[in-house]
């Protein structure tokens, strides 16, 4: 009986791991292929069947650094991401707080903000292009930051409202009765408790902004060029430069990869927020 249980347990466990492995392969294979392509010579990239053993090269990387604006793109993207986080997080936090505690606008205002998220950006791109051109904001890092901030805010607000509703109001009220003003109660009690949620919101905003392509493609040219826009440059009239494109994509993945590793702990805590308490 005991042995049977053990065997059953083992079968269930191995099935579980097989499932995990399949999902992992599906998720990681494109990434793996991208890195692999980035170190292949031009001829090896398109060979059929794909070569498993080949002579690795860094010529794609040298090409990217010498012939494209990757450095500028990386710097611009980092600045935009930083700017978006600096704008979105404080504003969304205060907005979410007032939605969750005072029900500002009786739910209508909150819904109105959320509709910005439902709105397809491509429908707005032409008007934005016209507005930006008329104001002389095309190819401008500030304008692209503001636009990204606007389109990220609904999601972060919605995310933070959910987290804030999980925090009992009793806590703030207790602090207020014990001598804190509302703002102090927010800063000393609520803020430390939603810190993981803020980290989650920040990383979402960072990833969305980093990956944002449409606005960058239409509204930037050279000065405010972003990494995604740089990558698009490898679709040339002479064809797609797969090797350099993969090298560029690999380079662009690195900052987000490092960021994700750094705040991984907070993400897990943030995502399981309701469950642990």
């Amino acid at each position: 009986m005991k042995i049977e249980m053990k065997t059953k347990r083992r079968i269930v466990d191995s099935l579980y791991y097989i499932g995990v492995i399949i999902v992992l392969i599906a998720v990681l294979f494109p990434f793996f292929w991208m890195v692999l392509t980035s170190i292949k010579k031009e001829l090896d990239v398109l060979s059929i069947p794909p070569k498993i053993f080949f002579e690795p090269t860094i010529e794609n990387y040298t090409f990217v650094f010498e012939r494209s604006s990757i450095i500028k793109g990386l710097i611009n993207s980092l600045v935009i991401v930083g700017g978006v986080i600096a704008l979105v997080i404080p504003i969304s936090m205060l907005a979410a707080y007032s939605f969750s505690r005072f029900n500002v606008g009786g739910g209508h205002f909150q819904f109105y903000i959320l509709t910005v998220r439902m709105f397809p950006p491509i429908a707005a791109i032409v008007p934005y292009f016209v507005i930006f051109r008329n104001f002389g904001l095309l190819d401008n890092i500030i304008s692209i930051t503001l636009l990204n901030a606007l389109f990220n805010m609904p999601f972060t607000i919605w995310l933070l409202v959910g987290f804030l509703r999980e925090i009992p109001q009793d806590l703030e009220e207790a602090a207020m009765i014990e001598g804190a003003s509302r703002f102090e109660a927010f800063r000393e009690i609520t803020l430390p408790l939603i810190a993981p949620a803020l980290a989650v919101a920040a990383i979402f905003a960072a990833i969305f902004t980093w990956n944002e392509f449409l606005f960058a493609f239409i509204l930037t040219r050279s000065e405010a060029i972003t990494v995604t826009r740089v990558m698009a440059g490898f679709y040339t009239e002479r064809g797609i430069l797969w090797g350099p494109l993969s090298a560029c994509a690999t380079l662009c993945t690195v900052p987000m990869f490092i960021l994700a590793l750094m705040i991984q702990k907070y993400i897990v805590r943030g995502l399981t927020f309701g469950a642990v308490r």
């Binding site: 009992p168 009793d170 009220e173 207790a174 001598g179």
Partner: protein, 364 residues
Amino acid sequence: MAGVSLKKVSKKFGDTTAVEDLTLEIKDGEFFSLLGPSGAGKTTLLRMIAGVEKPDKGNICIDDVVVTDIPPKNREVTMVFQSYALFPHKTVYENMAYPLRKRKIPEAEIKKIVEETAEILHISPLLSRLPKQLSGGERQRVGLGRAMVRQPKVCLLDEPLTNLDAKLRVEMRGEFKKICKNLQTTIVYATPDQLEAVTMADRIAVLDRGRVLQYDTPDSLYDHPKNLFVAGFIGSPAMNFIDCTLVEKNEKTYLDAAEFKYEITDKAEKIKAHMASSDVILGVRPEHIGISKNMKEGCIQLEVFVSERVRPEIIVDLKAGERIIKALAPVEFDVSMGDKVWVKFDKIFLFDKRTKEEIADKVS
């Protein structure tokens, strides 16, 4: 120490009325209990005194100062929440130090006060722990500790014992009373448990649906309930209520409950004079019912339905038609189902069926 007075206070949440036109006077240094079922408006009332909820109408005074528009932090009031509301990211020590920190008290003094308070509450070994590492009873003590560290004018307690298990609740009840007496402050204690209110409070206000039905000492509430609700809420097991009509026959006054007739001997004339109609509700406390196996003058005969032995007494359920009347008897009283017994009411209450008000009290 300070008295609290509420004058014609009303509070609505949307369409639901939480507190309606409520006037209450809580004396300086008193242990005052707000007693009522859930939804009676106890918590709303406490929150309004604390200042985290603003009344729609009416005024609240603490120490003869109108505080209705004063923010909670300036009211010198403290509150222990039903959920304890301990700050989850702060240690027990930091939780208890919080009110002192807010008052800019020097660190050395904070340490002294917190440690002394922890000593009184027997939570000294827990000071470095986080709230989630504590049991329910321990959290409760920390919540109380946070309220005790400073000298508030009024201490508000919102069902502090409700979330504890039965044994701990009885244990804490005694300890709580001792601690509260030593605090030497005005205490307002909300509870749905009449036993807690009766055993601890100097005075009790019985609340139902946002209104104060009666407020008085526990003994007066027990002896002279003004209406049906108070009568049914105070005392355990609860008072029996029997629908009756008052009838007169051969110059004697009877209460006719269909299954039995009960003769009123004293005050009969006065009662009749105060009655709006002859439909009344007879209230008898289980402890005021005398049961005997032998027939006696003026007794009525009922059948035993079931008996529960809750030493040192037994609760006997008597069957009167479809109705069950609960009575208390000494544990030696040996009865079993179906036995016929003779019953005498030692003390009765009469309530108007329509207004639910007590009748006899107005008479005396």
